[in-house]
């Protein structure tokens, strides 16, 4: 059952991804000002969406773990933090590659770039904690607290960095209320790419989450068996 679902999701992801790649490279018209590099945008934005969604789930599962308990919430948070980190890295790298020909620099301390970098560092710290501290209910609680506090910190980071400086292009909605995507084909491409990356996120989450669930059950069984063997030795 679960396997069929995973396979269907994988097939759907592949199909959508293929469509997104076709639309990005063939279907969509080249943007007039930025030229061909603008096509990075169609995958850059979905990566950012997946990263933020994943980090959001980290905080939500942290709250549920502290509230209800249950290893399942911890596994969900761990899987999402990892996937979020992968996509956050992709956002930074693709953004940097786009910025080089357009802005003339690899990196600039613009507000969105800075915020994304801080997020990357925040959840890097979260994953370091999990990697260094191992697995125990105690570490799961620590991770839940860090996940919640980090997410609560994000709005303050956003406001402070925005006041600090900003030059990132407001592509989606400009101040005049119109979006910067002039051609309906551009909007269509972005939407398909968003769907493709959402499906990819769901698929990655499913396999990583399933793997972590197995690991947790395995650890519990090993503990039980250790106890049983110790008891058998006493007989």
């Amino acid at each position: 059952m679960a396997n069929t679902f995973t396979r269907t999701l994988a097939a759907l992801t592949g199909l959508l991804m293929f469509a997104a790649i076709y639309m990005t490279f063939v279907f969509v018209p080249t943007e007039a000002e930025q030229g061909i590099v603008q096509r990075i945008f169609y995958f850059h934005v979905p990566c950012a969406w997946v990263a933020f969604a994943a980090f959001g789930i980290v905080a939500i599962s942290g709250i549920f773990y502290l509230w209800l308990g249950g290893q399942i919430w911890d596994d969900l948070g761990y899987a999402c933090a990892e996937i979020g980190m992968v996509f956050c890295t992709l956002v930074l790298v693709t953004g940097s590659i786009w910025a080089r020909p357009i802005w003339g620099v690899w990196w600039t301390w613009d507000s969105r770039l800075t915020t994304t970098l801080i997020l990357w560092l925040l959840y890097g710290g979260y994953l370091m904690l999990r990697a260094m501290a191992g697995d125990s209910p105690q570490v799961a609680r620590f991770a839940a607290v860090i996940g919640i506090v980090a997410a609560a910190d994000v709005p303050v980071i956003v406001v402070s960095v925005r006041l600090w400086r900003t030059i990132h292009p407001a592509v989606l909605i400009t101040k005049q209320g119109e979006h910067g995507l002039t051609d309906p084909r551009m909007v269509a491409t972005l939407l398909v790419a968003l769907a493709a990356f959402t499906a990819l996120f769901a698929w990655l989450l499913l396999i990583r989450f399933a793997s972590l669930r197995t690991r947790s059950r395995l650890a519990a069984l090993e503990r039980e068996l250790n106890l049983a063997e110790a008891a058998a030795g006493d007989l």
Partner: protein, 56 residues
């Protein structure tokens, strides 16, 4: 149009990283499978032990 290299690099990195991550997930899953087999072997041992004890 000389910026094609940047575009190619960006897409190569995106799919490269995602591919590597999937490989990473699978490798850790393989390790789990190994642990599972070890656990099953130990379980069988304990069962045999118990059976011998109850028989003897």
């Amino acid at each position: 149009m000389d910026n094609l290299g940047y575009l190619g690099a960006a897409y190569a990195i995106i799919f490269g990283v995602i591919f590597l991550y999937v490989i990473f997930i699978q490798r850790r899953q393989a390790k789990l499978d190994e642990r599972m087999r070890a656990l099953e072997a130990r379980l069988a041992e304990v069962r045999d032990d118990l059976r011998r004890r109850s028989a003897g």
